[in-house]
Symmetry: C2
Subunit: 333 residues, 2 copies
């Protein structure tokens, strides 16, 4: 088949038929500049009548590439999503590709509406992201006409996902504590039904021993405070370090230790997880914590999407990306 671009009606045809200048026709069709409403409508109608399509639309229809990527998230506060979106954007901006984020608020109807809107706007692909690795998306995503990539969430078989390597993150923190001479390390973390919490706990136990203490609870300061009080109120050996499943938990732990008149890191060394700056930097002492490199997770997801939209092949699977230990003062050393 001949390239269709050569056959299509040009802007010149539209301008001529509408009796306007080329630049007016262009402005009307591309929604740029100042064009009187009546003129714009005439130009648009004539463009439709003669079968002309503005470039962005024609390019989308012909090449199936709109140079936009949709991102769906269930995150309502954006703490995890916006850094990832920045990474996605960073990988695509030089290719002239924009990223549109839609928030589903975990509402299936809203998710469906947004997904349809993204597809109707002919996005080149959809990146699914959310607040947890074992997220169940609020919409059915199999059989979509565009590539789907998962970021900070594991997709089903035959899809590609990018997630932080939580076992690596946990090892970084625990090995750091051990390298500083801490030997009685406990782990206070979030709910057991979070895959990431279980992965981190398993990595911690692999280093510290199967009988090492893991306290599952909630991702809150309150839980960190409460668990610490429980641990330090019982008889027997006291821990000399606590590896926390989140920076918020770490704050609660430090707060409890202060009330117990124990010093951090002197009596007890504390490692956090997340490197959520507003928490980690502002805690006294500033936290040593694991950064999940969310921007890099997003960047890799963006690059995978770029390859897929170009028709390149990618092996399906879950790609676990390394974490990074950020050194504060809560572990000493």
């Amino acid at each position: 088949m001949k390239p269709i671009l050569h056959r299509r009606r040009t802007l010149r045809d539209v301008a001529k038929a509408a009796g306007v200048s080329l630049s007016t026709a262009s402005n009307a069709l591309n929604a740029t500049g100042r064009v009187n409403r009546q003129t714009r409508e005439t130009v648009l109608q004539i463009a439709t009548e003669i079968g002309f399509m503005p470039n962005a639309l024609a390019r989308g229809l012909l090449s199936r590439r709109s140079f936009t990527i949709g991102m769906l998230t269930n995150d309502t506060y954006g703490r995890l999503t916006l850094p990832m979106m920045a990474g996605v954007s960073e990988s695509l901006v030089d290719h002239g590709i924009s990223v549109f984020l839609c928030a589903t608020n975990n509402d299936p109807r809203r998710a469906q509406l947004h997904l349809q809107a993204l597809l109707a706007r002919q996005v080149d692909g959809i990146i699914i992201t959310g607040t947890r690795r074992d997220l169940t998306p609020a919409v059915e995503l199999s059989g979509l006409p565009v590539p789907v990539v998962y970021a900070f969430a594991e997709g089903p078989a035959q899809t590609i996902s990018f997630v932080p390597d939580d076992a690596h993150g946990a090892r970084l923190a625990v090995e750091h504590l051990r390298s500083l001479g801490r030997s009685r390390i406990v782990h206070i973390t979030g709910p057991m039904d979070y895959l990431a919490a279980r992965i981190r706990a398993a990595a911690y136990r692999q280093i510290c021993g199967d009988a090492s203490e893991v306290r599952y609870g909630a991702w809150t300061e309150e839980w960190g405070y409460e668990a610490t009080q429980a641990i330090f109120s019982r008889a027997g050996d006291r821990p000399d370090a606590i590896f926390c499943g989140s920076d918020e938990i770490a704050r609660g732990v430090i707060d409890a230790l202060r009330d117990l008149e124990l010093s951090v890191p002197g009596d007890v060394a504390i490692a956090g997880y997340d490197n959520w700056e507003v928490i980690a930097r502002q805690t006294r002492p500033p936290l040593t914590t694991v950064d999940m490199e969310l921007k890099e997770v997003g960047r890799r997801a963006g690059l995978a999407m770029l390859a897929l939209t170009r028709g390149e092949e990618i092996a399906p699977g879950v790609v676990e990306l390394p974490c990074r230990l950020v050194i504060g003062r809560s572990c000493g050393g």
Copy 2:
């Protein structure tokens, strides 16, 4: 002129010319279902040749309504933006309108790319939002072909903006403190170059007197801690209440008071600002704080956008929306 819809080529024309069934033609054009790639391309080419436009595109071109709204933000963590986006979405979801968020990261080139992408995707309007009321958008927004609404940011003359009524928020906090018998109230807040900080400080001084103490600094715990130490280390009357410009500042203040062995709210009552849940609820004691009702700000911006896209007239100006006091335990009473 006759309604153009009657003249346009139908799906039936496309199916016939391509030699495929109506449903295959529809699937190919709407990017739904399973259509073999070659068939899809043929259908798309024929659709272009005969001047057919899929409904979503045709609807966009003809009615100039795509049922999508673009949102541009400079917020990189999303704390302010995602709650507003939820409000925008809430006001539009029942009208079948989706919201696409693009993050500019304060980078003019990225902002320009995203803006162009949104316009090329024919969004019905653009909502500008960001991290501060006196935000300067990273792109030129005058003369856009679609309506622009500002949320949590003040637009130029002849635009419509929705912002929290910061004077109202400050009055809520200060009057609450006074109603509980506190008379020596100081105000610790963020940088003076933030319009919102100046508005709140002015409202506080209107109640407490022009000579009342305002300490401008940073939006951090560290600043709250430092300012509190300075205030309590000098001679003379000690304050019995501190109105803080943010919840983070309030946390730093409470931390400093604990180190000074002063009780909250017994010795000093503390009011925060933001109702940022992860901070406000988890502080000990939980903060009494001002909620800027960001979701409502977004909802109102969405409704204004809806009216504008329907061709309704709206009076330009800055609409200040009431705040709400959330009662914790940091003020007692």
